[in-house]
């Protein structure tokens, strides 16, 4: 009888993988063991550089020329994959293992129509006839809820959105009905609402196709949503492995605890909690500590941790931990609250009367040539269309929304990188509609920006010190003789230290680069700093450190921050007031508490229900938006959200722009649904306490 005794689909036992380099073999993965049962989803989490993807590539023997499996076994359906030739592997594994990568564009051929690419899988592997193969592809696209699959089949990859691309890739992976599906960060590049829909899809397909899934992610919330069991990886080793509930509610390894603590939870704000970043960073596999790999960053480390490597041991049935003191660690799960929390609460901005930044009726349009050959005037992309907001001194103002909502365009217009089409922009009482080149130096000095991608905003050929010194000289913040001192002071403020003065950007990690970016922005002691997704490209532990840093700076210097993000837990954690943007317009604006509690704008409600929360006890309402943000070239009439709104009232939403409804305390909702109705909506996120009672 097949499957009567539980046979794992995949069993990895003591796997070790090394990369050959000029300096000798680098052990990237050591002693990793786990198994995935039939139709089970097993996740591997960890920061970047922990060897998660290496394990995945090892399973499909895709390690490149210098990678090699040096030890252990990989049993796929009971047969060892290690040490076999490519041809043997191909036969053995055949098309029974499929893989989905982070970037769907890499898996799709940009020069082939999607239908042809998908059909090719069946024509090559299964030797199906073209017509039959296409028919099957069409069915599979329907299965992954692709809207209008027939037309998608005729399109090229660049003609569909990222979420749709990922659906196509998932559909392609499932065409061969694989027994094991390896997904390497499949939703990391997607918007939160799209991500939620793709995660739902994965869970559903897993049931239907009885496929075992190995899910690799750095996002603890995503992992809690899709998988039954989880392994936490650190510096090439599995440090903890158990069911999702066990790992999240009773973490036994200091690293797991650290990971959970450094994620801002939806519902937490900066006055009530402080993120606990994990100090230091992941050691390079070429230079591992002699004892426990986590020892240099561990708060519980003792002398024996430095000398002996802890073995993986079972602390409770099915719960494996690699730590000598797991039981003690689990008991001290919560760190004593920092004194900082109170300090931060006290430092919380009290809104002043005069706004530092006032934007009224802002419009930024881009002109694009008409697609028609003859006639047809220029068309306009209304990236920002009638946005009004006020930011008060000392506060943190958040702007959230999916990508393509005009968040970035708005701040780029404020700082002068885009020319506004219409509207009033006032900063400290000055008109700032003038382009950047004509702005007064003092104005530029007081209005600075931190960009999303630190890689592309730092000049690769200048040292860190020179880059931070530049604004100091230009704005004459300090006398010339003191510039170096000032740069070092800033570096210290960024917790980087003097040693970084002469380093080049390529010698820095992502988090360090972003710190330099922040240091450069605050060098001129600006009144207002615009932060465009400053942490979305960073690992969670680094992200926590950067967020804390921003808060410390704000506390010390009293700088006003405008903070753009798509991650609602981060925004909630950091911001005093929040604006939710949709398609160039503001859907809801108000204090952080007001945004995260009813009455909600239907769009806010959907965004909140899409946030992955790393806590299995949390109950979240299930609201999913269909489709993607419509094109700003031709925005829907009336309320722009009506095409995707789950609570649409009727024709009024399609014809009339929604009125601004005042909920008091500066909380405004732009919606046709009366506030009384919206107030009746229950909380999207409820913190389940049933678990607390039973234990």
């Amino acid at each position: 009888m097949q499957g009567a005794p539980k046979i794992p689909i995949l069993e990895v036992d003591g796997l070790a993988i090394s990369y050959k380099t000029r300096r000798g073999d680098v052990p990237a993965v050591r002693d990793v063991s786990f198994e995935i049962m039939r139709s089970e989803a097993h996740s591997i989490v960890g920061e970047s550089g922990c060897g998660k993807s290496t394990v995945a590539f090892g399973i499909v023997n895709f390690l490149g020329r210098n990678g090699k499996i040096v030890g252990g076994r990989i049993l796929f359906q009971g047969r060892d994959l290690v040490g076999r030739s490519q041809e043997e592997l191909r036969k053995l594994r055949g098309d029974r293992i499929a893989m989905v990568y982070q970037d769907p564009m890499q898996a799709l051929n940009p020069s082939m129509r999607l239908g042809d690419q998908m059909a090719e899988v069946l024509i090559v592997h299964r030797k199906m006839k073209k017509a039959a193969a296409e028919e099957r592809c069409l069915q599979m696209l329907e299965r992954v809820y692709m809207a209008d699959p027939a037309s998608v089949m005729r399109r090229y990859p660049h003609q569909i959105s990222g979420g749709q691309q990922q659906r196509v890739v998932i559909a392609m992976a499932l065409l061969n009905d694989p027994a094991l599906l390896i997904m390497d960060e499949p939703t990391t590049a997607l918007d939160v609402t799209v991500e939620a829909a793709v995660l739902d899809l994965i869970a559903e397909l897993q049931q239907e196709f009885a496929t075992a899934i190995m899910y690799i992610s750095h996002n603890l919330g995503v992992v809690a949503r899709v998988s039954q069991r989880v392994g936490v990886m650190y510096a090439g080793e599995l440090v903890e492995r158990s069911t999702v509930e066990e790992v999240y509610l009773h973490p036994h390894h200091p690293y797991t605890q650290g990971l959970i603590r450094c994620v801002p939870r939806l519902g937490a704000d900066k006055s009530s909690s402080y993120l606990h970043p994990i100090r230091g960073r992941v050691p390079s596999p070429a230079n591992l500590p002699p004892g426990c790999v986590f020892e240099p960053r561990c708060d519980y480390a003792r002398p024996e941790c430095c000398s002996r490597r802890p073995p993986m041991r079972e602390v409770s049935p099915g719960h494996w931990v690699r730590c000598f003191f797991a039981e003690e660690v689990a008991q001290q799960a919560r760190l004593p609250q920092d004194a900082l929390v109170e300090a931060l609460a006290a430092a919380r901005a009290t809104p002043a009367d005069r706004p530092i930044l006032r934007v009224e009726g802002a419009r930024t349009y881009y002109e694009v040539p008409s697609k028609r050959l003859i006639g047809g005037g220029k068309q306009q992309v209304k990236a920002v269309d009638d946005v009004s907001l006020e930011v008060f001194p000392g506060e943190t103002f958040g702007i959230v929304g999916e990508s393509g909502c005009g968040k970035t365009t708005l701040v780029r217009t404020i700082i002068g990188l885009e020319r506004p089409t219409d509207g009033a922009f006032e900063f400290m009482g000055f008109d700032i509609r003038t382009p950047l080149a004509k702005r007064d130096l003092a104005l530029i000095r007081n209005l600075q920006m931190v960009f999303q991608n630190p890689d592309s905003t730092l000049n690769p050929s200048f040292s860190v010190g020179a880059q931070i010194a530049r604004p100091l000289r230009r704005f004459k913040v300090v006398p010339k003789s003191e510039v170096r001192q000032e740069v070092i002071r800033l570096l210290n403020l960024m917790k980087l230290g003097e040693a970084y003065y002469d380093r080049l950007p390529q010698q820095l990690s992502g988090g360090e680069k972003q710190r330099v970016g922040i240091a450069r922005a605050i060098a001129g002691r600006p009144e207002l700093v615009l932060c465009d997704e400053p942490v979305s490209a960073l690992d969670v532990s680094v992200q926590a450190a950067v967020l804390n840093l921003l808060m410390d700076i704000q506390k010390q210097l009293g700088t006003t921050l405008v903070f753009i993000a798509h991650d609602l837990s981060v925004v909630r954690f950091l911001c005093d007031r929040i604006a939710v943007m949709y398609l160039g317009q503001i859907a809801e604006i108000g204090s952080a508490e007001a945004i995260y509690a009813p009455p909600y704008h239907p769009y806010t409600e959907a965004l909140l229900s899409a946030v992955p929360i790393p806590d299995p006890r949390v109950e979240q309402k299930h609201v999913r938006l269909s489709g993607t943000v419509p094109s700003a070239l031709d925005p829907p009439s009336g309320c722009r959200f009506h095409t995707r709104c789950p609570r649409m009232l009727g024709p009024i939403c399609q014809t009339q722009a929604p009125p601004r409804q005042d909920d008091g305390n500066g909380h405004y909702i732009y919606c046709h649904i009366p506030l009384e109705e919206l107030r009746k909506v229950e909380m999207v996120v409820t913190w389940g306490h049933k678990d607390a009672e039973t234990r």
Binding site: M1, Q2, G3, A4, P5, I7, I9, R38, S39, Q77, G78, R79, K91, L92, G94, D95, R96, H125, R126, K127, M128, A132, R136, N176, D177, P178, A179, F209, A210, T211, A212
Partner: protein
Amino acid sequence: MLVKDYMTRHPLMAEPTMSIVEAQRYMGENHIRHLPVVGDGKRLLGLVTRQTLLVDPARLGSLDIWDITRYLSGLRVTDVMVKAEHVVSITPDTTVEEAARIMVEHKVGCLPVLDDGAVVGIITEMDLLRLLMEMMATREHGVRVTIRMPNVRGELARLVSAIAAQGWGIPACGGLVNPRNPQQWDAVVKIHDATREEVVAALSRVEGQQIIDVREV
């Protein structure tokens, strides 16, 4: 109740070049009795069962001891398997009772499930026995009662309404024509929330129907 819902998805499979020694070990280690042999694209080429792996003494009789070793170690599954054209198979959308009929008719213990020639699953006697077990809600506690009634339309409805009148639940119900008397029909019903005595009392009042077996399980 279709085959696709009860079959084993992603069965263990062999490639034609696998040696029978390895096949035997593979089946033994994983406790399986049927091993589909597939080529590229999971196309069914044949089926290996424990019977096909039995050595035919007649073929070995003429070989000396050294030849036997070489003969056995050189055997591949493709040499011993039942070839695909002789393997009885079904599609995922077949009903389970049809699968059972085919297995009884051909006297085979397993059916590879093919979708467009590719193996998507396997259904065995064990799966059908498990299905019988589940259909009778074997793992749930309750009163299991067998009622013999005339093979006439409306009789089952009378029985069910008698049970419903008491407010009891029916987790499982099955029936068939009495094999010895086609005029009669035997129904097996499992009843929740009732004791044996209550069931006997309530059902003996149904006219023309007779309790032939009752037990608490």
